[in-house]
Amino acid sequence: MPDHTTQPQFYRRLFLNTLTLSAFTFGGGYVIITLMKKRFIDQEHWLNENDMLDLTAIAQSAPGAIAVNASILVGYRLAGWRGAAVALMGTILPPLVILSLAALVYTQLITNPWVVWILKGMQIGVAAVIADVVITMVHHVLNHRRALQIVLMLVSFGAAVALNVNVMLIILASGVIGALWLKQAPVLEDVE
């Protein structure tokens, strides 16, 4: 892992990146994961796809909001506890500021039709963004050509969508299955 902290204004960029991502995380924790993938992998080249999936799995396994956990993990992975602190600040500031202001005028806000329409449009944009990222991630799994991983992906998807299985149970089961049947495998290389 190269040392990114020597890049010019690294901490400033980490802070501004997490701040922007947090300010646009509409629609739940997995949305920030897809935004992080686009920003930290595709644009900044700070992480690779496997790093991001590992951090997501850890973020999901720990208590608390995925967005907060994932930010701490990305910061820590890039620059230790200092990076974690910077990323955490960037992530909690937008909800803190926005909700403090919104708490004052919330009745006007939740009944304003224009706000509702803009949010409806953004919801559509979020759906397009997450669909785009998921397709890239699915390609990535398929490219490894490992049957067990493809089955795990499909079963997790099906279990979450159709059977409404608890997410923690899915994470736990796939970790155990991986530990039992994938440990002899060579370390997965990035197919990019």
């Binding site: 997995y30 973020a59 999901q60 909001a65 039709p113 795990l152 997790s156 899915i170 530990a179 440990k183």
Partner: protein, 187 residues
């Protein structure tokens, strides 16, 4: 001591909301409505609505809202600190373990199982968001005919632009918001 109560209440919310997202809702309600009466049930419902309209995790949003109501700006900061403290401690421990043992064959096996599962889970979240955007809150229960054609057109265009030109995701979302206001407000 209101600040200490705020911190401890939201600390518990942060510690016990495992699984993310709406898993935290009943915990928050228990703390702020049932145990402390900081909000009424209908105010709590408003916080949930507000949280869907603003960015950020519901637990942080609720912490800021309740904190502001009960103890002003300082209350908001303390409640937010309370809700993220358990995450910070536990995630840092897990991160240290991950960094230390990365490359070990057992951990690589576990991660080899987790990575595709995470892709599946993100895929399920994607499907949920697509259905929500196209069919509204009732989802597919109201039948395929209830599809929102304006939403479908905008989503397809946004998707093609993202795939083809790799435009900034936040820019695409913001433009979609503006187009949404035009599509739903003016047309």
């Amino acid at each position: 001591m209101i600040y200490l109560e705020l911190f401890l209440s939201f600390f518990q919310v942060g510690l016990f909301s495992i699984g993310g997202g709406y898993a935290a809702l009943p915990l928050i309600q228990n703390q702020v409505v049932t145990q402390h009466a900081w909000l009424t049930v209908s105010e709590f419902a408003d916080v949930v609505t507000l949280s869907q309209m603003t960015p950020g995790p519901i637990s942080l949003n609720a912490a800021t809202f309740v904190g502001t109501r009960v103890g002003g700006a300082l209350g908001a900061i303390i409640a937010t600190a309370g809700v993220v403290t358990p995450s910070v401690i536990i995630v840092m421990i897990l991160a240290a373990i991950y960094v230390k043992f990365k490359g070990h064959h057992l951990l690589e096996g576990i991660l080899g199982g987790l990575r595709p599962a995470v892709v599946g889970l993100i895929g399920s979240a994607a499907l949920g968001l697509i259905i929500l955007a196209l069919f509204g809150e009732t989802g597919l229960a109201s039948g395929l005919g209830s599809i929102d054609l304006k939403a479908l057109c905008l989503m397809v265009v946004a998707f093609i632009i993202l795939r083809k030109y790799q435009l900034n995701a936040i820019l695409v979302m913001s433009v979609c918001g503006m187009i949404g206001a035009v599509l739903y407000g003016l047309i």
